[in-house]
Amino acid sequence: MSDPIAQLIFLIVKAILLPVLIVLFVAFVIYFERKFAGFFQARVGPTYLGPWGSLQSFGDIFKLMSKEDVTPARADKPVFKLAPYIAFIPAFLVMAVLPFGPVGGEPNLFGYRFDYVIANFDAGLVLFLAMCALGVYGVVLAGWSSNSNYSLLGGLRAGAQMISYELAMGFSVVGVMLMAGSMSLVDIVDRQAGNFWDWYFIPQIVGAVIFFIASIAELNRTPFDLAEAEQELVAGHLTEYSGMRWGMFYFAEYVNLVVVSAIVSTLYLGGWRAPLEVLDFIPGPIWLFLKICVLIFLYMWIRWTIFRYRYNQLMSIGWKVLLPLSIANLAVTAVVVSLVG
């Protein structure tokens, strides 16, 4: 078997295994979100289906599948049906550029080289930002095509919020690009080789915090979930959706949560690398998984602890605080990088 054919087989195996594992993981992330929400609010959360209610998400999926899929009469039907796909698919393309273990080097599997990444793309970080921008389309088109006042307002709010925080996100990652000298996620992880004090969250602490806050807004989670503020907008852009189409938006939100946590750990927390060099015998995917779990817990903790901001506060934070701070971080990093080399 020649090497290109082996690589093609590896590619197919990786491309099937990684999304399926992430989607299964997402089912449990949704369960843990509800369980933690229960604990944070002194309730018990889901308890009936499976041990400690752990199969609740699967029950929910079957329930959603057996519910009617209503399309409003006045909706823009093709766009209304397309919007859930636009929200769902971009996260899968980001998975392709995500390194979950060592890439390149010596043959490591049956005499062939197995790369722990699906696509070793030079501009992986730009692909991630582009896919974040595509996520805005899903939300805005869902809001517009529903032809309902609540949906329209929710979609507009979400669109304006997401593009505002995307700017802060786009500028804060420039610090990482400057330090790594690359836009490839594989290279960025390689530059963070060593112990945990070599990771970028120490020199790039400002950028890391900005990126994390912007990612909460990008994921439309509390304290920045203005798009779905129940008390004022019913369910925002999701008001007219029902059944599995609504379920796809919900699912996409959590797939994005996992993928964004993976990107945060790749950019600032050393990706698949062990925190100490002596722990390198534990394989990379396990470390990445642990980091993703910690970050997801952090997102949940914030969601169930901090109140929702008002819309003008949200826009002020995005445009008047995070954007100037991220540009200042960029300038300082650029000066330091060009002085130190």
Binding site: D3, Q7, L11, A15, I16, P19, V23, M65, S66, K67, E68, D69, V70, P72, A73, R74, Y85, F88, I89, A96, I118, A119, F121, S146, N147, S148, N149, Y150, S151, L153, L156, G159, A160, S164, E166, L167, G170, F171, V174, M177, L178, G181, M183, V234, T239, E240, G243, M244, G247, M248, N312, M315, S316, W319, K320, L323, A331, A334, V337, G341
Partner: protein
């Protein structure tokens, strides 16, 4: 798996196909399982139980448009900064000074938009 550019298209294409297949599977299984009943009242847009008086194709705040225009400006700036950031070490100090001039020009526009109250939502 020979030419990097073609490889990338194949790799991203497979991921796109898997995402799309998963989404379509969800929707088509739900179409097999779900009941269907039509009713003119059910397909009205939701308006807290009353019959909607206005269409949603209505004018909305111009602020959203201003934010979108500013986003395009700053995101383009960011796209210009990315290749510069990657090659700053090889370009050296002159490139640093040039980029500072570029950012300063755009910051003038930012301050102007701030003074004009684009970021004020009341």
């Amino acid at each position: 798996m020979v030419n990097p550019a073609i490889d990338l298209v194949i790799q991203l294409g497979i991921m796109f196909a898997i995402g799309a297949a998963m989404a379509m599977a969800f929707i088509s299984i739900s179409h097999l399982l779900s009941p269907r009943s039509t009713n003119p009242n059910k397909s009205e847009p939701y308006e807290c139980g009353v019959v909607p008086k206005s269409d949603a194709r209505a004018p909305f705040n111009v602020h959203y448009y201003l934010v979108a225009v500013l986003f395009v400006l700053f995101d383009l700036e960011a796209v210009f900064i990315y290749p510069w950031a990657v090659s700053l070490r090889t370009l050296g100090t002159p490139a640093l000074a040039e980029m500072f001039v570029f950012i300063a020009i755009l910051l003038v526009g930012y301050v102007y938009a701030w003074k004009k109250g684009v970021f004020e939502w009341e």
